[in-house]
């Protein structure tokens, strides 16, 4: 008999909060090989169980918490686990990735994934250990902020908690684990709708790798490569993601005044450098994700307490986005949002949109561009739904635009608020925002800003080649995420010398050719046998997963897993009502020029979308055809 796969516990359970039952959920070894783990494993569970539209707050909505093979293994930046559910913001499948210690602990408790369904009668804390599952009363935890709940639960276990925002069904409430968030899509509100305040996991020992020695050996090389790479070895550890803000400004990608512009004149006071000089504190221990040699999180001080510093997205959105140059205030707001348990990106988008609604006389919330004295009040009100204003803000940008108007400048796609990257100077990112399965998310979009300005400079305003690059990047990131690594480890895909020497002939040539490179690689992706090799410098993830699980993975198969995941999510979304016309952006980005002197400074979405559907092998209606479903092995009951 063949040796069993390593790195998995082999067990998935379904917990019903309504009747407090627990049942094994069948997920075979073959399925583990085809769907790897994390968000793709979760998508498969939805793919097999969800066939019609369901409201996010329906008690039959499932929350799938899924681990990845590399969680708990000797591999860099590999603590990232996943939570998926139907989103209260988009009504579509959302998945959110988190770098806290919960995934590792869930595997120690003996589970690759847990499916939570039903609705608890009383406020509940779910305790998962290697001895079983217990439903505990959580009355004493209800109302507490996210750090307080974790402290009160105490003990050595992984803790997933929601704050008041989740309890009050703020549509973009998040789930917090340590100081890391499963941020996007409103998963915290789904917890709240189920009366679920927290889930804990603990156990003595996780599963072993298939080939521990080889994995350890490979890990050493991989960590060294990350440390030697200019982005993951220097830039991110020293400046965090905030270090990207100046580049965003210089490349006209810094969403300013609710995405009206791509540059903010006072950007210097928001830059990563300014943050480092004025606010960084040395001891950032415990702020970054487990098992990460990059350690991109920075510690800052607030009222004598060391807290995790803000990421570039919130600095952009609550700085340039609302014409605010006060970084100290952003640090405070960021902390408050984490404590209330709200996604910082969505909450920030809501505030900038409210300011523009006010400026245009559509809704007077009292919030005004450039005036920040009442922003903290607004944040607390929305997180607690404690006032009429807070209640409106808690509904998110899409619903606000349906009620008050302003759809043309409402910064969201499919209901999910856009991140801080202004896509009229990174049109491939614009395509990604529009077509991404979970809505306006910079990562699920394919993070083309990296190729269009933040790593390389592949002509950011040409639509050429962007569809193929987007497809490729999305598939790679999908698979990397399912394997359990942080997406920042994908930076190594671009050789270090090209980052160090951006002006060199080679780098400039690659930048010029990049729009065409995607097509070549996509073709190779269509024929995975051509990629039946493992280039450890480019995509070490496939090799690590191979050593960890024993599955015969190579780059081609790995990217194909990503493609399988992306298509599966698409199909689930179609069952939930998604149409091609939902793959869109606010008109401001597709019909107004960012720069009056450059006729190309808008997102030519329809042109790119057509090509994107073609690249994906979808019909003109954006639906994956039967042939593709079969090719991806999604037609059989494996």
């Amino acid at each position: 008999m063949a040796k069993k796969l390593g790195a998995y516990t082999g067990k998935v359970i379904k917990i019903n909060l309504t009747d407090k039952t627990i049942a094994d959920y069948p997920f075979s070894e073959k399925q583990r090989e085809l769907f790897l783990g994390g968000k793709i494993m979760a998508s498969k569970i939805f793919y097999d169980n969800l066939f019609e539209k369901i409201d996010a707050y329906d008690e039959n909505n499932m929350v799938v918490i899924s681990t990845s093979p590399l969680n708990g293994m000797p591999a860099p930046s590999s603590s990232r686990f996943n939570i998926s559910a139907v989103s209260p913001l988009t009504g579509l499948l959302t998945s959110s990735n988190c770098g806290g210690d919960f995934g590792i602990n869930l595997k120690k408790a003996g589970y690759d994934a847990v499916i939570i369904t039903g609705k608890a009668e009383e406020k509940t804390l779910l305790q998962i250990t290697d001895e079983g599952v217990e439903f505990k009363n959580a009355d004493s935890l209800w109302g507490l902020h996210t750090s307080e709940v974790q402290t009160k639960i105490g003990g050595r276990c992984g803790k997933l908690v929601i704050g008041p925002a989740g309890e009050k069904l703020v549509r973009y409430a998040c789930i917090i684990n340590e100081e890391r968030a499963a941020g996007r899509g409103g998963l915290g509100a789904v917890f709240g709708s189920k009366n679920l305040k927290a889930v804990t996991a603990s156990g003595k020992k996780g599963p072993e790798a298939y080939d521990k020695e080889k994995l350890q050996e490979f890990n050493k090389k991989w960590v060294k490569a990350l440390k030697d790479h200019p982005l993951t070895g220097k830039q991110l550890p020293q400046l965090g993601t905030a270090g990207l803000l100046t580049a965003m400004q210089m490349k006209h990608m810094l969403a300013t005044k609710n995405f009206a512009k791509g540059q903010y004149e006072d950007y210097e006071k928001l830059s990563g450098d300014y943050l480092a000089e004025n606010f960084h504190r040395k001891d950032a221990k415990g702020k970054s994700c487990k098992s990460c040699p990059i350690q991109c999180a920075r510690a800052v001080e607030l009222n004598g307490k060391l807290i995790k510093g803000p990421e570039v997205e919130i600095i952009g959105l609550l700085g340039a986005g609302i014409l605010n140059n006060d970084l100290e205030k952003i640090i405070r707001w960021n902390y408050e949002m984490d404590e209330l348990g709200m996604d910082t990106i969505s909450a920030s988008g809501v505030i900038s949109f409210a300011m523009e609604l006010n400026e245009k006389g559509l809704w007077d919330s009292g919030l005004k561009f450039g005036e920040t004295d009442n922003v903290l009040d607004a944040i607390i009100e929305m997180g607690e739904r404690s006032t009429e204003r807070g209640n409106e803000l808690a509904e998110g940008v899409k619903r606000m635009s349906e009620k008050f108007g302003g759809k043309d400048f409402a910064p969201h796609s499919k209901g999910l608020e856009l991140s801080a990257y202004e896509p009229r100077s990174a049109v491939g990112q614009g395509l990604g925002y529009a077509v991404a399965n979970r809505g306006g998310c910079h990562l699920n979009a394919g993070y083309l800003v990296f190729a269009e300005g933040l790593g390389l400079s592949a002509n950011p305003r040409t639509p050429k080649g962007k569809a193929s690059l987007t497809t490729l990047f999305q598939n790679i990131m999908e698979a990397v995420s399912a394997g359990g690594n942080c997406l920042f480890t994908v930076y190594c895909f671009v050789p270090g010398f090209m980052i160090k020497k951006p002006n060199s002939f080679i780098t400039r040539t690659v930048n010029k050719l990049a729009p065409y490179l995607g097509g070549v690689l996509y073709f190779a992706g269509k024929k995975p046998e051509l990629l039946a090799l493992n280039l450890s410098a480019m995509l070490p993830h496939a090799i690590a997963c191979k050593h960890a699980t024993g599955s015969k993975l190579n780059m081609g198969k790995f990217i194909r897993i990503g493609e399988r995941g992306y298509n599966m999510e698409r199909i689930v979304n179609i069952r939930l009502g998604l149409k091609a016309e939902d793959d869109t952006l606010p008109k401001r980005l597709t019909h107004e020029l960012q720069d009056a002197s450059d006729k190309k400074s808008f997102v030519p979405l329809e042109f790119m979308k057509k090509r994107y559907y073609l690249m994906r092998g979808w019909g003109k209606d954006g639906v994956p055809p039967k042939k593709l479903i079969k090719k991806l092995k999604l037609d059989t009951t494996v």
């Binding site: 200019p230 982005l231 220097k234 830039q235 020293q238 400046l239 270090g243 990207l244 100046t246 580049a247 965003m248 210089m250 490349k251 540059q263 210097e268 830059s271 990563g272 450098d273 480092a276 000089e277 300005g453 933040l454 790593g455 390389l456 400079s457 090209m498 980052i499 160090k500 020497k501 951006p502 002006n503 060199s504 780098t507 400039r508």
Partner: protein
């Protein structure tokens, strides 16, 4: 005088946010920055040769859209120098 602003690892390592130099071209500005940092006694400061790898903007425009190192400068111009790892 031309103002040269530093961003990224360059700024963190030199602990300098900006310098003012006299220079008629970008190439000359690189040389002037090297001399300025040397005069300030900054250890491991980048040389003019190193600075060629830095992403350089003159008044907000990448020099590769201008005349590269031959780009002419006049008093009051602003150069932004980003470490090559700051997002090319």
């Amino acid at each position: 005088m031309v103002k040269v602003k530093f961003f990224g690892v360059l700024r963190l390592e030199t602990k300098i946010a900006s310098v003012e130099v006299e220079a008629k071209t970008v190439k000359k500005a690189y040389e002037a920055v090297e001399a300025d940092l040397k005069a300030k006694g900054i250890e491991n400061a980048p040389t003019a040769k190193d600075l060629k790898d830095y992403i350089t903007f003159v008044n907000g425009i990448n020099i590769y859209k201008l005349k590269r190192q031959a780009t002419k400068l006049k008093a009051g111009d602003e150069i932004v120098l980003m470490s090559p790892v700051s997002g090319g």
